[in-house]
Amino acid sequence: MAKTTYSAFLALLAASVMMTGCSDSGMDTATDNPATAQHDEAVDLDTLITDAESSLAEADKLGFAWSVTAPLLEEAHTAAKAGNKEQAIALFQEVKHQSMLAIEQAHYAEKHWQLLIPK
């Protein structure tokens, strides 16, 4: 019981984080993300690309991918091809970040989708 309570709490927290995340409208979250700001040359672009793409694929498989993520991925690839490594990293990280949130939404929905049913 203690464990399930904890994960429910996590899910609620994730949901509330997402809610606040939305209020300052989407696309510029890349710059707000501390993980992005702190990266340095140590980031391996190839691993990041694999991560970003597999996260998005998982979110998609769960039926929870965001409509804004795939265009972002395209943008990221374009940046990488153009040699803008820094921008590409930021964008791939954002793709990964959005996909993780989407996956979290799917998990949350699995447990709590009935909350909105009128009683």
């Binding site: 429910a8 709490f9 039926g63 409509s67 009935q114 909350l115 909105l116 049913i117 009683k119």
Partner: protein, 278 residues
């Protein structure tokens, strides 16, 4: 922090107690009706078929004026033309449907116990085509939407009567559609129910959100935003995109299940499609 944990424990607890594995569709319908009757006491059940125009007088007046000379009439005529044109093999759409396809929309979506899937009227139109050696049409807009609009027009005022047969797969399809209706998704973390149940009738930016009850009655609809007739599932994809969730393919299993649930909720309401919407 402790308070929050406590709250979530209570929420979880109540879920564990109150959530049966499969809800009873009939009682779902009763609950939704009771909810909307309470929220919009002045609207009679059949009135919900008018969508947002049942709950907003200003919008209703303009809508009635548009419906006096509706923008979809030509599309319905065109749809009739397609519907009545025989296939290369000499058969026609009429051969695929009960009662020659006339006045039958109230029975869709149907659950096909042979294939184990939900059959919407648009899905059936394409099944009819492929069974007769014709290429399937694009879903959403154009020829198929016009045919569907014509078929809807022949079923106007008929009472929606979606049946969930005594079949586990049918109930599972219904349940999957229901889940999709209530689950939050997309970058905006919103469910269908967020706007169309919890906040139905509220002002969302410049719009008044329509009640979920009665959504399905007037599709395919002519939307001025589309400048054309489009199907219900095209609207689903639009709604998903509006909350920044990646839409499913039109007539995918997911959307057909959603339409199954969504239309079942409207059982007993009159069909009034095609309708015009903003």
């Amino acid at each position: 922090m402790k308070g929050l944990t406590c709250l979530s424990a209570i929420l979880l607890g109540s879920l564990l107690v109150s959530a049966p594995s499969y809800a009873d569709p009939q009682s779902d319908q009763d609950d939704i009706r009771a909810f909307f009757e309470k929220r919009f006491p002045k609207v009679e059940l059949a009135g919900f078929a008018d969508g947002v125009y049942a709950i907003n007088e200003n919008a209703r007046t303009q809508w009635l004026e548009i419906e006096e000379f509706p923008p979809y009439e030509d599309a319905v005529d065109e749809g009739q033309g397609y519907f009545e044109t025989p296939f290369a093999n000499g058969k026609s759409y009429a051969d695929c449907f009960p009662n020659g396809g006339i006045g039958i929309k109230q029975d869709y979506p149907k659950f096909d116990t042979d294939s184990g899937e939900v059959i919407t009227i648009e899905y059936a139109i394409n099944q009819c085509r492929t069974a007769n050696g014709e290429e399937p049409l694009a879903y959403g807009q154009g020829e198929l939407a016009y045919i569907s609009a014509y078929m809807a027009s022949t079923a106007r005022d008929n009472i929606i009567n979606v049946v969930i047969p005594d079949d586990e797969r049918a109930l599972a399809a219904y349940e999957a559609g229901k889940k999709m209706f209530y689950e939050r998704k997309g970058q905006l973390n919103m469910a269908c129910a967020t706007c169309h149940i919890s906040s139905a009738g509220a002002q969302l930016r410049a719009e008044i959100t329509s009640p979920a009850l009665g959504h399905t009655t007037h599709f395919p609809a002519f939307r001025f935003a589309w400048d054309d007739i489009g199907t219900l599932q095209k609207r689903y994809a639009g709604c998903n995109t509006q909350v920044r969730a990646k839409p499913f393919a039109l007539q995918s299993e997911q959307y057909r299940n959603l339409e199954y649930f969504h239309t079942y909720m409207a059982n007993g309401l009159p069909l009034n499609g095609p309708g015009s919407r903003k």
